[in-house]
Structures are given as structure tokens and as C-alpha cells.
């Protein structure tokens, strides 16, 4: 008995001796069950994706700017982006390009469609090959793609284009629209909203003609000259594609009617700068094609990772996007005028 007590005391003494050591000791008493294993998100691409950005036409500055953004995103996100399209904005040539890309077995096709109908079969063919398809800039029919990356809300853009022209023309007079390809879905939707806005707000204005340019600068310039000749009372031109607006401004300038015939439209600041500064064009409206290219690639990577765009989603280096069913809207249009055109480098 005594011996046991003494033994206990000795053990207790030995235990208490340990407490005097200077190095701090740690005794875990609680650790949450969901111990964070690692905070690094799953790698976006375990292997390198290859995707193709297909513009309406290769050499248009607008699409080249979009390619700049796409390549930037490709670098940021670690994917390979092939920029390849037809030389001119032609659906048939575009189909050929897409075919070659299918043979190349890219992982994803992002297409700015020259024709919403004619591209459907080849895109569906691509999808059967296991290639993901999205559209950007110009849509196809929904069944041919996962979603469409749109720049702006077509209604907003169409109404806004009408507003800028009406402001320049004093809300009265005849005007014409120069568009790209008559089959391009996005252009046609904008034209639709331009007309709606005109009918609702500007009864003194009259749309005389809608002419196609096929995004061909020479054809566009000729079309503009023909418009000026055909309609002597023409007061304004809306250039509904990035080629059409500078061509119209050049034609107005060449005819010596700068400032008299107002030119507004969709085009890049670089293409419009000189016309804006000398008064041959009043307002250019666009979005950042670089941003659009960047966003397209970012969303494409997400799509390859099985992630569909969400409304209000924050895309890094772009900002928040809106999603309306299967249509992504990048943001609001930008207006370029004589005052601010120098701020933009596309």
C-alpha cells in the first residue's frame, strides 16, 4: 500500500518535472473535420486544349483585334488558340475552313458565323466528332452550338445606333444602312431594332435603303458611292458593320460632303479616327473586340471544363457578364467621338 503511494508520488513528480521545459509544447484539442486539404483549385486544363477562333474574315481589323484578346487569354489560361477564317466574309469559304479545323481535331470551335443556316450542318458534324462548338460575335441557329457570346444586347445596340444618327441629323431626313452580309444574323437583328427605334421615336426620318457590303472594303466603298448618287437627299448613313462605316465616311469625304451627310456606325476607333477628327463621321459605336476575344476564349475554356456561363459571373480580366438563356452578353456598347477616340488602340 505504502509502496504503491510512494510509487504514485514518484510518477507524479516525474510528470510535473516535464512541465518546466522551456520549449513550448502544443496539444491539439480540436481540428475541424473538413480540414482543408489544399486550397488550389482543380487545374483548369489537365492537358493543353487547342481551340480555333473562326472570324467572319481573317484580315478585318475588328477580328484581328479580337484575335489579340484571344491570344492574351490563351496565354493567361494556358491553352492554344488557332485564329483561322475565310479571306472574305463568305459562308462557303468559312465552311471549308471549319472542315479543315475538324480534321485537325481541335477541341473547340468558336465561330463568328457568316450565315446562321448554312453553317449548321458542318458545325453539327464537328459536334459529332466530339468537338465543342460555341459562337461569338455572330450567332448560328441554337442547335449548332452550346452558347453564343454576344457583345451587346442587340436591342440596346440597334436602338442606340438609331439614336446617335438621329442626334446628328436633328431627327429628320433620309438615311441608309450599310450592312455586311445580308445573311449575318447579328447584323440583321440590329437592323431590326434600328427600324423599331426609328418608327417609335423619329417619324420625320426615313430609311431609304439597306445595302450589303459583304465586309469587303472595295465593295463597301462602291456601295457608299452608289448610295450617295442614288439618293441626293440622303442625310445620314448607318454603317452596320466594321467595314461599312469607314467606307461610308470615306465616300462622304471624297464627295466633299463631310459634315453634311452624317455617318455613324459600328467600327473600330482606329479605322474611324481620322474621319471622326475631320468630321466625315460623327460617332462610332463598338465594344472592345479584344475584350470579346478574351471573353470568348475564357468561356470556351470553362465550357471545355464542363462549366456553363452563369448570369452575373465574374470573368477575370473582363468583368461581370450577363447570361440570357444560351446567350452571353459581354457589356454595354462604347461610343467613340472626336474627343475620346484617341484613348482606344483597336
Amino acid at each position: 500500500m505504502i509502496r504503491m503511494i510512494i510509487a504514485l508520488l514518484i510518477v507524479g513528480l516525474a510528470a510535473s518535472c516535464g512541465a518546466g521545459s522551456p520549449a513550448p509544447r502544443y496539444e491539439v484539442i480540436y481540428s475541424p473535420d473538413n480540414e482543408p486539404v489544399s486550397r488550389t483549385e482543380p487545374k483548369p486544363s489537365p492537358r493543353t486544349y487547342t481551340m480555333a477562333i473562326v472570324p467572319k474574315a481573317m484580315e478585318i481589323p475588328y477580328f484581328r483585334a479580337a484575335n489579340d484578346g484571344a491570344q492574351e487569354a490563351a496565354k493567361d489560361l494556358g491553352v492554344e488558340v488557332i485564329y483561322r477564317g475565310p479571306a472574305i466574309a463568305d459562308a462557303g469559304q468559312q465552311i471549308k475552313v471549319i472542315r479543315s479545323l475538324i480534321e485537325q481535331k481541335v477541341h473547340l470551335l468558336a465561330v463568328s458565323a457568316n450565315d446562321p443556316e448554312r453553317l449548321v450542318p458542318v458545325l453539327q458534324e464537328a459536334r459529332q466528332e466530339g468537338i465543342k462548338v460555341i459562337t461569338w460575335d455572330s450567332d448560328t441557329r441554337p442547335e449548332a452550338r452550346d452558347f453564343f457570346v454576344n457583345m451587346v444586347d442587340p436591342e440596346t445596340l440597334g436602338r442606340h445606333l438609331m439614336d446617335t444618327l438621329a442626334l446628328s441629323m436633328g431627327e429628320k431626313g433620309e438615311f441608309a444602312i450599310m450592312t455586311g452580309s445580308l445573311s449575318a444574323a447579328n447584323l440583321n437583328e440590329w437592323i431590326h431594332w434600328i427600324q423599331v427605334q426609328q418608327k417609335e421615336n423619329y417619324p420625320d426620318m426615313k430609311l431609304t435603303e439597306i445595302v450589303p457590303t459583304d465586309d469587303n472594303p472595295r465593295k463597301a466603298y462602291a456601295a457608299a458611292q452608289k448610295l450617295l448618287a442614288d439618293h441626293p437627299r440622303l442625310g445620314g448613313i448607318i454603317g452596320n458593320s466594321s467595314i461599312a462605316a469607314p467606307a461610308a465616311a470615306q465616300a462622304v469625304k471624297d464627295s466633299g460632303q463631310s459634315g453634311k451627310i452624317k455617318v455613324v456606325g459600328l467600327s473600330t476607333p482606329l479605322a474611324m479616327r481620322s474621319y471622326l477628327e475631320e468630321g466625315s463621321a460623327q460617332t462610332a459605336t463598338l465594344w472592345s473586340p479584344k475584350k470579346l476575344g478574351y471573353l470568348t476564349v475564357a468561356l470556351a475554356v470553362n465550357d471545355l471544363n464542363g462549366r456553363f456561363p452563369q448570369n452575373g459571373e465574374e470573368i477575370r480580366n473582363v468583368g461581370k457578364i450577363r447570361v440570357n438563356k444560351d446567350q452571353v452578353i459581354m457589356g454595354e456598347p462604347l461610343d467613340f467621338t472626336r474627343e475620346n477616340v484617341n484613348q482606344y488602340d483597336f
Partner: protein
């Protein structure tokens, strides 16, 4: 076996000590152990609870802070709402200094309007570094800025991307005039349209907003709450002085999220950690364990108090109880010692009916039984001895009687009438002394007279061969002194017998003296000296050995000395008796020592146990 001595010592403890130790072991020890264990468990469960709750609170606080910071991190986006601000930021070059100053003025006032006065109460300063221009606006005057210390002040930081990063005050060197602590939230300004980096925006955030979030967590004055990055640099601390310092132990913390106890220098502390999901820092909360268990201290103190009171009371009871058990035993042992010295007249009072009472009762009955037995045996022995004594003291040797009668006969034949008359008178007196007086004690004078009578008769027989002298010096103020009867005559008879066997003539000197002892008491000493042959040393040793016994021997007349010695010792105690002194060839002296007796009833004072009854 080093414990053996202790073991033996414990065994040798007093019974009361053992009882108390047993009590302590059986009550105090288990009670204190039980109390300690339950208190320790209680305290431990409180700490455990706090350890589980705290990380959750911290997670919540972290989520609040993250949410708040991510709101603040979105502030640079406001720039894009202003065409003016954007156009200034996009400008690369200026024609003139005034141009630049105009832009700077416009931008600074825009920042003031938007951020400082824009309802963001935690924002105390906004700084934009763009293309080697600095735009700034702050609530208070600032100093010490060194923007070159900020990573990539004007350029692109690929790591940063669109993410916000937290800069510690030390990294920028910025100081507000009123010393307000702050955090810098750094974020790149991206021109998403042009795909260019316009610059870097730094938002200084007052730390008081963290105070606000954490206010509910800091429970006591000793608790500490801090926020640190992965390297342990302290971003925020409830002790403002520690902001910017480094928590040296971070690397050793056993976990990133959860709670643990830190023991070491200083008081032990409970530390809880919660990492931020977004910014990679951790919120840490540290509180001394003592503070957590403070609420239990009252319980503990009350328990200890009750325990002490209880132990005191029961210890008193146990002392009383053990004394009640051991005191009768102690008393018993004292009484036993007394019985050992011969006092059988002891009585242990029986107060109780328990084992101690039963023991006392048994002891009492044992002592009284022993006493009865002793009394009984002693009386039997005494009466037996008295019968023997009586027989001895009244004995006149038949041989002596025969010789005397023969002498008387011869004197009658010779016609010596006077001699006959005298001898018959002497003999008659002797017979009356031995037969007539039944008492055990006679006066010294009577005893000497008897001896004289005996010697006178013997002188008729041995005529000139025997001479004697008797002196009585043992008288005191006329009061008679007493002696056991018939002790002197056997000694004289013995001397005459042995002396005349070896010598032609014998002289005897007989005396009775009064002598004082060392203790102050008076003794009577009879001495019988002869000039006979003496006793050889061998015979002397034999005789002395025989004298040591108290036995009476009736038969052997040669042992007359032995009988006298035994009688004196039986009647008067062992201090008295007979002593022999002899020189062979010169004579023998026999000394009889008795106490001074003043009454015929024997000694007045009890001497030991022998003369009881």
C-alpha cells in the same frame, strides 16, 4: 527492498497514529482525488468546448472580413463608371506641366468624391499609381510614402492579375498623420477594352472595421486576437503595438485550422486558428487557460472550503474516536504494570459495553481471580508452615531430656539435693517455655533466659569443660523488645555439640545488640561466638548454600541452623536471617539478625508478601 525500514516503522506506529493514517487514506485521499479529478475534467471540458467553438466564431469573422474586403476590392471598378477618370488614366503623355496638373486635380477630386466622401467609411485613403503619375486622396495627411517599395508600382504584375492583394503598412511606408493603423488593398486597374494595364490602385482601409467584426470575439482583457499572413507577419492585432511584428511560432503551430493548447514559457494558452479562404491569412485567437476556467474557480474554491471543513470535522472525530479506543488500552497497560509489581488491588472501571469494555471486564475478573488464587494458596501454605514452626519451636530434643534426666538421677544417687532441685527447676522452666507459651514471639529477655537455662543444665553435665557468658544490650528505655521464639537455643545447642566433640573445653559468648541500619531502622542482632574448631571452607560453602533456601527440615538436627534461618526469613522477611563467620581452628560466630520488634504480635509493618495474613 529499500522500503523495508519504512514498513517496520509503520508497523511500530502507535495504534492511534495508525487509525488516523488509515482514516486519511480511506477518506481524505479518495475524496481529494475524486474532487481533483472531477474539477480537472470539468475544466478540461470547458477548454474543449471553447476550443471547438472558437474556430467557428473565427470562421464566421473571417467570412465577414473576406466579404467586406471583397466588397472593398471591387472599389477600383468604380473608376470605369467615369469617362473622365478613364480618359485621364489612359493618357500616356502630356504637352505641358499644367496639363498634367489639371488631370491630377481632376483625378484627385474624383477620388475624393467617389471614395473618401462616397460613403465607404472604412476607406481612409485611395492612391492610384499610373504611368508614373500618382493620384491620391485621403482622409488625413499622409507621409512616408515610397511607392517604389510597392511591388511593380507602375507595371504589370502577372501574379496579381485581377486579384486584390493585401499590403502591410511596412511595405509601403505610408503613415497617416494621426497614426491610424490601416491595411492597403492593392489591385491592378485593367483597361478591359484596350487590354492594357492602366496602373495600380491602393485602397487604405481602416483597421477599425476589423475591430468591429471582432469586437464580439474578444471576451476578456487577457485574450488576444490577431490576423497574420502565412509567414506570421501580423496584419492586425488587438494590441496595436504588435501590428507589423511577426509571430515567431507560426511555423511550429501544429495545425492551420482548429484549436490547440500551447504550453511553455508564460501561462498556458488556448490558441484557435482559422484561415481565410481568399486572402491566405489566418485569424488567431489566444486566451490563457486560466481565464477560460475562471468561472470554475468559484466552484473549486467552495469545494475546497467544504472539503477542508469536512476534513477538519471528521479528523477531529477520528482523533476522538482513536483516543477512545486507545485510551482504555493505555490505562490497561498502566494497570498491568502495577499488577506486575504485586498490587492486585486494582480496578479498571468498565464504562462501555464495546470490546474495550469487555477487555476491561476480562482484565478485572482475571486480576481478581489471580488475587483469590494467590490468597487461597498463600493461606494454605502459611497454615502449613505455621504448623511446622510450631512443631519446631516447641521441640526439646529427647536426647537432651534423656541426658538431663540421667544427670538428675546421678545427683540423686550422690545425694546432692540442691543440685537436683536446681536442675529440675531449670528443666521445668524450659519445658514451660517450650510448651506453655503458644505465642510465636517472646521478649529478648525470655529467649536469653531460656538459652541460659539450657546452658546451665549442660554445665551440670560437662562441668568445667563448658563456660559461657550472656549479655543483653538490646534494651531500650525499659521497653521490652521481641524476638521469634526458640531461635537462639538451637544455635547454642549446635555450638555445644560440635565444640565439645572436638575440644576439651568450650567457651560461648552470647550477646544481643541493637544496631542501626543504613536506612535508619533499628535491628536486633544476636551473636553466638565459640572457640571451637571452626568450619572448613568446603563445609562453609555447603552450609551457605543451604541457608539460601527457606525450606524447613525437621529431621536432620545437623541442619538446625538452616531451620532457624528459614524461620526468621519466613516470619520477618528476606532482609533478616542467619550469617556464619568462621576461622578454622579458632572458632565460629553465628549472627542472627531480626528487626526491632516492639510488640508480641510480630512485625507491625508489612514486609513484602511473605508475612501477609
Amino acid at each position: 527492498m529499500i522500503f523495508k525500514p519504512r514498513l517496520i516503522r509503520f508497523r511500530d506506529f502507535r495504534l492511534s497514529t495508525k487509525l488516523m493514517i488509515a482514516y486519511l487514506l480511506l477518506t481524505v485521499l479518495p475524496m481529494s482525488l475524486l474532487g481533483y479529478i472531477s474539477y480537472a475534467q470539468y475544466a478540461k471540458s470547458i477548454i474543449q468546448q471553447a476550443g471547438e467553438d472558437m474556430p467557428e466564431f473565427l470562421d464566421q469573422a473571417n467570412a465577414n472580413i473576406d466579404k467586406h474586403l471583397s466588397d472593398l476590392a471591387a472599389l477600383p471598378d468604380l473608376l470605369f463608371n467615369s469617362e473622365e477618370a478613364l480618359s485621364i488614366l489612359r493618357r500616356d503623355s502630356y504637352q505641358s506641366r499644367a496639363d498634367l496638373n489639371r488631370d491630377q486635380y481632376a483625378m484627385n477630386s474624383y477620388l475624393s468624391r467617389t471614395y473618401i466622401e462616397g460613403g465607404y467609411q472604412d476607406v481612409v485613403g485611395v492612391f492610384i499609381l499610373s504611368k508614373h503619375r500618382v493620384f491620391e486622396s485621403s482622409k488625413w495627411k499622409v507621409s512616408g510614402m515610397d511607392w517604389n517599395r510597392v511591388p511593380n508600382p507602375y507595371g504589370e504584375d502577372p501574379e496579381l492579375g485581377g486579384q486584390a492583394r493585401i499590403l502591410l503598412p511596412g511595405e509601403a511606408g505610408l503613415r497617416f498623420a494621426n497614426g491610424e493603423p490601416y491595411l492597403l488593398l492593392m489591385r491592378q486597374i485593367n483597361d478591359t477594352d484596350n487590354r492594357k494595364i492602366l496602373g495600380t490602385m491602393l485602397v487604405a482601409i481602416q483597421l477599425s472595421y476589423i475591430d468591429h467584426v471582432l469586437r464580439n470575439l474578444e471576451r476578456t482583457a487577457n485574450a488576444q486576437l490577431w490576423m497574420m499572413n502565412a509567414q506570421g507577419e501580423i496584419i492586425y492585432h488587438t494590441d496595436r503595438g504588435k501590428i507589423g511584428a511577426r509571430d515567431q511560432e507560426t511555423a511550429y503551430y501544429p495545425l492551420k485550422s482548429g484549436s490547440f493548447i500551447r504550453r511553455g514559457a508564460g501561462p498556458s494558452r488556448l490558441i484557435s486558428l482559422s484561415p481565410s479562404e481568399v486572402y491566405g491569412w489566418s485569424l488567431a485567437y489566444s486566451i490563457p487557460l486560466a481565464d477560460l476556467t475562471r468561472r470554475t474557480d468559484l466552484v473549486r474554491n467552495v469545494t475546497i472550503l467544504i472539503f477542508i471543513v469536512f476534513v477538519t470535522i471528521t479528523a477531529l472525530f477520528s482523533v476522538l474516536f482513536s483516543l477512545r479506543v486507545t485510551r482504555p488500552l493505555h490505562k490497561l497497560s498502566i494497570l498491568m504494570k502495577e499488577v506486575e509489581t504485586g498490587n492486585f488491588r486494582v480496578d479498571l472501571p468498565v464504562e462501555r459495553r464495546d470490546e474495550a469494555g469487555m477487555l476491561a471486564q476480562s482484565f478485572n475478573s482475571m486480576v481478581s481471580t489471580i488475587r483469590d488464587l494467590i490468597d487461597k494458596n498463600y493461606r494454605i501454605e502459611i497454615s502449613h508452615k505455621e504448623a511446622e514452626l510450631y512443631a519446631l519451636q516447641s521441640q526439646i530434643q529427647p536426647h537432651f531430656l534423656y541426658n538431663t534426666l540421667e544427670s538428675i538421677g546421678m545427683a540423686v544417687e550422690e545425694g546432692e539435693k540442691e543440685t537436683v532441685v536446681e536442675m529440675v527447676t531449670l528443666l521445668g522452666r524450659m519445658l514451660r517455655f517450650s510448651v506453655g507459651n503458644k505465642s510465636k514471639y517472646v521478649t529478648i529477655g525470655e529467649e536469653l533466659q531460656h538459652t541460659r537455662d539450657y546452658l546451665a543444665i549442660q554445665k551440670f553435665r560437662f562441668e568445667d569443660r563448658l563456660t559461657f557468658a550472656i549479655g543483653n544490650n538490646a534494651v531500650c528505655a525499659g521497653e521490652p523488645r521481641y524476638t521469634p521464639k526458640f531461635i537462639l537455643q538451637p544455635v547454642v545447642e549446635n555450638a555445644v555439640k560440635h565444640g565439645l566433640e572436638a575440644r576439651r573445653s568450650l567457651h560461648l559468648d552470647i550477646s544481643a545488640d541493637r544496631e542501626v541500619r543504613d536506612s535508619g531502622e533499628w535491628d536486633i542482632v544476636f551473636r553466638v561466638r565459640d572457640n571451637g574448631p571452626g568450619i572448613s571452607p568446603e563445609r562453609m560453602r555447603e552450609l551457605e548454600a543451604q541457608l539460601q533456601t527457606d525450606e524447613l527440615d525437621r529431621r536432620d538436627s545437623g541442619l538446625g541452623l538452616k531451620n532457624v534461618n528459614a524461620r526468621i526469613r519466613i516470619m520477618l522477611g528476606r532482609d533478616y536471617g542467619l550469617q556464619l563467620h568462621s576461622r578454622p581452628g579458632e572458632g565460629t560466630e553465628v549472627e542472627l539478625r531480626i528487626p526491632e520488634l516492639t510488640s508480641p504480635g510480630g512485625p507491625t509493618k508489612a514486609r513484602g508478601g511473605e508475612n501477609r495474613g
